[in-house]
């Protein structure tokens, strides 16, 4: 024998020593150690999934908005009640007829390349947004022109009133781009879409694809002594277990859109090193909805949809699917628009017996195990829609509807729902945005039924009265009257059920306890993060 047993035992006993010699960092101190080593204040923000581009003038992709808003700013900012605050505009006024908006711009602001920011940039950008932004086309549909009487004044002139317009100027939604870098060539293939130059608190430094995006502090930022953070990393972390570990060992400081499993929130925030909040999402609340293909022979029948509505217990969806982080809602308009909200009780409360009766009376008796079968397509974004679909399957089994779930990736899903219309019903989630005209109308307006266009009217709902109400509300400047129009609209759709709104999701932001300064922004982590502070401010910075 070449090895003797003794030699082997000696060899094995040396292994623990090997392990102990590997230096390790104790829990939750990785970031602090980095800062201690370099003297720089570093903020690690999560982006999941990795953004496709870094400029949000032509896209509403969630993480692009997150990345873009650090570099590119908007004319205004918003607090939690969506009241406008100064951004690149310091003062503003709306004409009495609602057809012109005057913005007094901040003076002395420079682009990251040193060029001065002027009203010409504003005029150029708004036109760009109108032409290329998926929502900009309808938000600025009535835009006639942007006058620039002097370098620091911009007057937006409209053909018809747009009562929601003042809320449309957040940096992520309507970024102001440098005219001198975008005026030549095709804006869609401009290299600055992946290396943005803006006026924001952070400058783009590097994009390591698949790993991270690096931003550095803008020393010429217009905010006094801001930002405090020296380096901002946007880290890509596709796996939930890895994200959880990253939060716990300190390599992530903040992450939005419920970055860790909600069932783990209580556990990881127990020690106080991590905190969570549901604030910071006022700019866009996302409802979970069940949308029907109204061209389906069975689902075109109102009694069938009513029966389905009676079979769903929204409380279970809130408590089980969303772990309690959701608000039950019958109306497609969320609570943060109290002036528009229709508050009458649900005409189709949870009632299994009633549902069964409705189906029996509709002439759809049970044949064997089930009355009929349907295919349900949940939106493949995160897993909450798939979980909701699993619940719907369970719930509808109780009234004799056999639901088959279909799993597919994102492009297959959008093609199926919006182009081929090859679906029965789907679980969707589309942001209500900063105004119902912008976020809710698109789902119910018959003129927004366009095959091949993602996130349009997928149900093929066509009600002339609803169209009239929505179109009037889009230009109604009197808040009271506008509210009445919206309430009438909600009454109809809640009764007719082209879709069923289930809950309004509460998004959760997880952040390290040392991080402050983002929750009061209506956009939360999608704001510019200029005011973020990382605990003690004793370290001086240049």
């Amino acid at each position: 024998m070449s090895f003797s047993r003794r030699q082997l035992l000696i060899g094995l006993s040396a292994l623990p020593l090997l392990g102990a010699s590997v230096p390790f960092l104790p829990n939750a101190l990785a970031a602090a150690a980095a800062e201690a080593a370099t003297g720089r204040r570093i903020f690690n923000l999560l982006v999941n999934p990795e953004p496709p581009s870094l400029s949000s003038f032509n896209t509403t992709a969630g993480t692009t908005v997150t990345a873009s808003s650090k570099v590119l700013e908007g004319l205004l900012r918003y607090d939690e009640s969506l009241t406008p605050q100064p951004g690149l505009a310091v003062a503003w006024s709306v004409a009495a007829d609602g057809l012109s908006y005057r913005f007094d711009l901040r003076q002395g602001v420079k682009w990251h390349d040193g060029q001065p920011f002027t009203s010409a940039d504003v005029a150029f950008s708004l036109d760009l947004i109108k032409r290329y932004h998926p929502r900009g086309g309808s938000t600025f549909a009535n835009l006639l022109a942007v006058d620039t009487p002097d370098q620091y004044t911009a007057v937006v002139r409209l053909a018809k009133p747009a009562p929601y317009l003042l809320r449309a100027f957040a940096g992520g939604e309507t970024p102001i781009l440098p005219k001198h870098l975008y005026e030549t060539g095709d804006p869609l293939s401009n290299p600055h879409n992946n290396a943005p130059i803006g006026t924001g608190p952070y400058r783009f430094k590097r994009w390591q694809r698949g790993s991270y995006i690096e931003f550095e502090r803008n020393p010429d930022y217009w905010g006094v002594d801001l930002p405090v953070v020296d380096t901002l990393f946007l880290k890509v972390a596709p796996d939930s277990a890895a994200r959880l570990a990253a939060f716990e060992n300190g390599s992530l400081d903040a992450g939005g859109q419920s970055p860790v499993p909600l069932s783990d929130l209580a556990r990881i925030t127990q020690s106080g090193k991590l905190k969570f909040t549901t604030r910071g999402y006022a700019y866009s609340v996302t409802p979970t909805m069940l949308e029907f293909n109204l061209d389906h022979p069975l689902l075109s029948r109102h009694e069938v949809r009513k029966a389905i509505a009676h079979a769903i217990d929204r409380e279970v969806i809130k408590k089980v699917v969303y772990y309690g982080y959701a608000d039950v809602s019958v109306s497609p308009i969320p609570k943060n628009f109290p002036q528009y909200l229709y508050t009458a009780p649900n005409p189709y409360p949870f009632d299994i017996a009633k549902a069964n009766t409705l189906l029996d009376e509709a002439g759809l008796p049970k044949k064997g195990n089930a009355r009929f079968s349907l295919i349900l397509d949940p939106l493949p974004y995160g897993d909450s829609y798939a979980r909701t679909a699993a619940y719907i399957r369970s719930a509808l089994a109780r009234i004799g509807i056999d639901v088959q779930l279909r799993s597919q990736d994102f492009p297959t899903y959008t093609k199926r729902i919006y182009t081929d219309r090859d679906f029965d019903f789907a679980v969707v989630g589309m942001g209500t945005m900063f105004d119902p005209t912008v976020g809710v109308q698109r789902l119910f307006w018959s003129k927004n039924f366009r095959k091949g266009l993602p996130f349009s009217n997928s149900t093929h709902y066509n009600n002339p009265e609803v169209d009239r109400l929505l179109e009037q509300a889009a230009v109604e400047t009197d808040e009271q009257r506008r509210g009445d129009l919206f309430k009438a609209f909600q009454k109809i759709v809640i009764e007719e059920l082209p879709s069923i709104t289930l809950v309004m999701q509460q998004q959760v932001t997880v952040f390290s306890a040392r991080v402050t300064g983002f929750e009061t922004d209506g956009n939360g982590l999608d704001g510019s993060l200029s005011d973020v502070r990382l605990g003690d401010e004793a370290i001086a910075h240049g």
């Binding site: 277990a241 990881i268 699993a390 297959t412």
Partner: protein
């Protein structure tokens, strides 16, 4: 002169394959576990009536907390024990049908390539190489992306990605065996090629094929688990890989959701590997006992 009667030497014999299998502890354990799993899969309705995907109880119950749900519940309140029992069906079904497909394809291609050789053999081996050089897991992902993740498509994808192994093995066997005497004899007796391939050579190539098949079934289960981890599993049927996939979110707090189906996978794959090992030993003529 007395004639000394010479006793005829008593001839013993080598034990049969069946006897070799029976005395091999690996084969017995492996087969035992597999039979148990199969029984569980077939009788799931008896022990767990109702739909395993139904949300029946409070979510995230730990095993043992509620006697009605001995293995706990998942994040949607579904019974884990029921899921594991019914999950055996999907996992075994996918694995067995995928292996059947790859064995059929592989034997067809390999037999033709090995027996005829020449131009046909070259072309067939070229095609085999193409499929073998593409990373198989990526091929599976592409095929599943073409269709929807359903049990059938997943089985098809796994089958298509693993037939080259069988083809190469069968080709090697056929190349050796086609020179054997009994084949020459059969040919001289006038049997046609098809008969020779199917009735003469193939039965002799069965031994390594069976061993490979057991390994293929095992790897099919592992591939399905990997697919489920990436989110590509059939959402309508419980499968062990799918349970690991959906339980992954709770790995830090309710790790039993990942551990239990993982253990189930380990057991079955272990059983299949032991069976394969045992078959390999039993079919190896040098390891068979001599029974005097």
């Amino acid at each position: 002169m007395s004639i000394i009667a010479i006793q005829p030497t008593k001839r013993g014999h080598s034990e049969s394959v069946w006897a070799a299998l029976r005395r091999n502890p690996a084969v017995l354990t492996g087969a035992g576990i597999l039979i148990l799993t199969l029984a569980m899969a077939l009788s799931a309705e008896h022990f767990f009536p109702g739909d395993p995907m139904d949300m029946v109880a409070a979510p995230l119950l730990w095993p043992g907390a509620d006697p009605a749900y001995p293995l706990g519940t998942d994040s949607l309140g579904r019974d884990v024990a029921s899921g594991i029992a019914y999950g055996a069906r999907a996992s075994l079904l996918i694995a067995l049908s995928a292996t059947l497909l790859s064995v059929t394809l592989g034997v067809a291609v390999g037999a033709l390539a090995g027996y005829h050789g020449g131009r046909l053999g070259d072309v067939l081996m070229r095609i085999t190489e193409v499929f073998q050089t593409v990373p198989s897991f990526l091929l599976v992902i592409v095929i599943v992306a073409i269709g929807n993740p359903t049990v059938n498509i997943i089985a098809l994808a796994i089958g298509i990605s693993s037939w080259p192994t069988v083809a190469r093995l069968i080709r090697a066997e056929f190349r050796t065996l086609r020179e054997a005497d009994f084949v020459t004899a059969a040919r001289s007796q006038g049997f046609n090629n098809r008969t020779i391939i199917l009735h003469e050579i193939l039965p002799n190539a069965l031994a390594p094929l069976v061993v490979t098949a057991s390994i293929l079934v095992a790897s099919a289960i592992l591939i399905e688990a990997g697919l489920a981890f990436l989110g590509m599993s059939d959402p309508n049927k419980p499968s062990w890989g799918g349970m690991i996939g959906s339980g992954r979110e709770q790995i830090a707090s309710a790790w039993f959701l990942t551990a239990l189906p993982g253990l189930a996978i380990i057991f079955v794959v272990l059983a299949l590997n032991m069976l394969g090992d045992g078959l390999n030993d039993a079919l190896n003529p040098r390891l068979r006992r001599y029974l005097p």
